[in-house]
């Protein structure tokens, strides 16, 4: 059945709620309104407002109360309306959710999901466009998942809810309705922590996720038809824990790596991946490990001319691929 990324996430939430009465959704406008992006549309009607509950406008309590509810035994799915608004909840995420298990020596746990729509290209300006994966991928005790396809998204939201530990679940806003794909009717699984080679190739490796995955696939096709070179495209799907094995296996095969993310370059998750490759695939490298990322500015401006300048395009990727191939 064909679905958008957004519909796939909704379907996953729906199935998780149907299967387990402990699961509830808590966030701003998630109830009657069904979320500002409509991800939770219809769920309040189906499961009642107690299980699809509008929160006050306060992100720290959205996460903080979810932690308490998780300790009590429920399975909260907290929604942060835009990833950009997650910062007031940083302390609850970093100091609390991610450490409950470690600090109690394994006695308490914090099974909860925090959903956050991220990414730009929707005229969202500085505060409705950010990528936040790098910050949270640096937090031990937290898993960070960012699916790129409807197939992966539906299974991964269910896996996140079933996970015994806290999971930050990132949903690309521009991909929500843009990306469509087949989703099986029957049950299937995609495990957290596993990357997937979305396109096989032997000449170079692209490592990416989210909307950029789709741009990368397009650029890889163009590269194949224009230069006859085959790029292998690895979709991370999970940002932490990184699937180091899949990344290294691909780079050891191709000898060249390009890491792409929408987020700003400096301190982005690309650095971690480049460092892993540079250390553990050093002897296989036929060229420098390259990164292609957003500019180092506080975020994406509103004016179309500026937003466009910020965002990577398929052509930007293709240019970079050609440069790497030529190395």
């Amino acid at each position: 059945m064909e679905m958008t990324l957004l519909e796939a996430i909704r379907a996953g939430l729906d199935e998780a709620m149907a299967a387990d009465e402990r699961v509830f959704i808590f966030g701003e406008d998630v109830g009657k309104r069904g979320g500002v992006f409509r991800v939770t549309e219809g769920l309040a009607d189906k499961y009642g407002e107690a299980r699809v509950m509008d929160s006050p406008l306060a992100e720290s309590i959205i996460v903080g109360a979810s932690i308490g509810a998780a300790c009590y035994g429920l399975r909260p799915v907290a929604e942060i309306q835009f990833a950009d608004f997650i910062w007031p909840a940083t302390n609850q995420i970093v100091s609390e959710a991610a450490r409950m298990r470690y600090r109690s020596n394994g006695v308490w746990g914090c099974p909860m999901v925090i959903r956050a729509p991220y990414g730009g290209g929707i005229h969202g300006a500085l505060y409705h466009s950010q990528s936040i994966e790098a910050f949270f991928a640096h937090v031990p005790g937290l898993k960070v998942v960012a699916p790129s396809t409807p197939y992966d998204a539906k299974a991964l939201i269910k896996a996140a809810i079933a996970d015994p530990d806290p999971v930050l679940f990132l949903e690309h806003k521009k991909a929500y309705r843009l990306i469509k794909g087949e989703v099986p009717e029957e049950a299937y699984e995609v495990p957290i922590g596993k990357a997937e080679v979305k396109r096989a190739g032997s000449d170079l490796t692209i490592i990416t996720f989210g909307l950029m995955l789709h741009y990368a696939l397009e650029a890889a096709e163009k590269l194949a038809s224009s230069a006859g070179l085959q790029a292998e495209v690895v979709d991370l799907r999970t940002i932490r824990p990184l699937d180091t094995a899949t990344i290294l296996q691909s780079v050891r095969k191709t000898g060249k790596a390009l890491i792409i993310h929408e987020d700003g370059l400096t301190g982005g998750i690309g650095g971690e991946i480049a460092a892993l490759v540079a250390e553990h695939a050093f002897e296989y490298l036929d060229g420098p490990v390259m990164r292609l990322a957003g500019p180092d500015i506080p975020a994406m401006p509103f004016a179309a001319s500026l937003e466009h300048e910020y965002l990577l395009s398929v052509d930007d990727i293709l240019d970079k691929l050609q440069a790497i191939a030529a190395y």
């Binding site: 109830g31 406008l57 506080p298 509103f302 500026l306």
Partner: protein, 344 residues
């Protein structure tokens, strides 16, 4: 202690007929300029607009009690009426709506309605709700520090900040009010309560009727004001301003308003407000109410109003035209101003 400000009819105001007419002008300008933004949005020329409609009385009435360019002002995104009263021009506003390079607030970098003006002491606003309330407390703190060092009031400016009732749930609002209460800082906390945070009604946001009831817990007055009555809003603000200038500390003003539009151009309020509610809401349009009051009092005639509307419409037309014609930001500038370009 919650004080309830008197309604307009019972108010003995110091405002002259001239003032009352000026306030009307600002309210009408705010309304017409706001409506125009929806038009350009529907025309596909502006991807996002957000309204002050229903808040004009609170905003114009309250801002009218401030000293532009002296007091420090941190209006949230609905504050079109505030910034116009303080002296921003319709063209300034429309340059933001069209995200033009000369938009004085952000050069087209921010969404519309993220106001900023250095000459007017309007500090640049962001999107995360409530952060500006902390900044206002910080301005108050800075004034307090300067005056403490000088051992006299060398600056009697105040900080005026606004936010919605939904935003009052944020921790930052609490921390800011608490700091202001601790040191009796010259800050006016203005809550524009339209009883919705996007789709979430007040009773799902808080267990009280009045946000103003929080002030007692910080040691300063909380005042509930009919936010559809510009005179009451002016008077309540004036009292609070005087108190703050004297060094007697902050006030929390709660203006009960109506949100006459959906939350923003991205919202559809029919999905969470009933037809009856939306109809009832219309009865509390502050502009209608104030128009009627001025006419009843003989301060405004039908002819005056028509003339004024025509004049403002021209102003709005001209502003729209000029702003639309202005240049879009040069893509090359996207990398600028991350840090100071000179050591200023």
């Amino acid at each position: 202690m919650i004080v309830k400000a008197l309604p307009v009819s019972e108010q003995a105001t110091v405002l002259s007929s001239d003032d009352l007419r000026k306030m009307f002008e600002f309210m009408l300008l705010a309304r017409l300029l706001d409506e125009r933004q929806w038009v350009v949005n529907r025309q596909g020329k502006a991807p996002f607009v957000i309204s002050c409609q229903g808040h004009e009385a609170a905003q114009v009435g309250s801002a009218y009690a401030l000293q532009a360019g002296k007091d420090w002002v941190l209006p949230y995104y609905r504050g079109l009426g505030v910034v116009l009263t303080l002296g921003m021009s319709p063209e300034d506003v429309m340059l933001g709506v069209f995200a033009r390079a000369t938009d004085p607030a952000s050069g087209g970098r921010q969404m519309p309605a993220h106001y900023s003006s250095r000459p007017l002491n309007i500090i640049s606003q962001s999107s995360p709700t409530g952060t500006q309330v902390a900044h206002a407390a910080g301005v108050g703190l800075a004034i307090h520090i300067r005056n403490s060092i000088a051992r006299e009031i060398v600056d009697d400016a105040i900080a005026w900040v606004s936010f919605g009732e939904g935003t009052s749930s944020q921790g930052d609002v609490h921390e800011a009010m608490n700091l202001a209460g601790t040191h009796k800082l010259p800050v006016l906390f203005c809550c524009e309560n339209n009883s919705y945070a996007i789709s979430v009604p007040q009773h799902k946001q808080m267990g009280v009727q009045d946000v103003a009831s929080r002030a007692a817990g910080y040691g300063f007055p909380g005042v509930v004001v009919d936010g559809t009555d510009p005179i009451a809003c002016y008077e309540a603000t004036k009292t609070a301003v005087e108190r703050a200038r004297r060094g007697d500390g902050p006030t929390l003003l709660e203006f009960k308003c109506q949100r006459l539009t959906p939350h923003s151009s991205d919202d559809n309020d029919r999905s969470y407000r009933s037809t009856e509610e939306l109809k009832e809401m219309r009865l509390h349009d502050p502009l209608h109410r104030y128009t009627k009051y001025l006419k009843d009092e003989g301060i405004l005639t039908d002819v005056d109003e028509q003339a004024l509307r025509a004049r403002i419409k021209d102003q709005v037309d001209a502003a729209t035209k000029a702003a639309e014609a202005a240049a879009v930001p040069d893509p090359a500038t996207v990398l600028r101003h991350v840090f100071a370009e000179t050591n200023d």
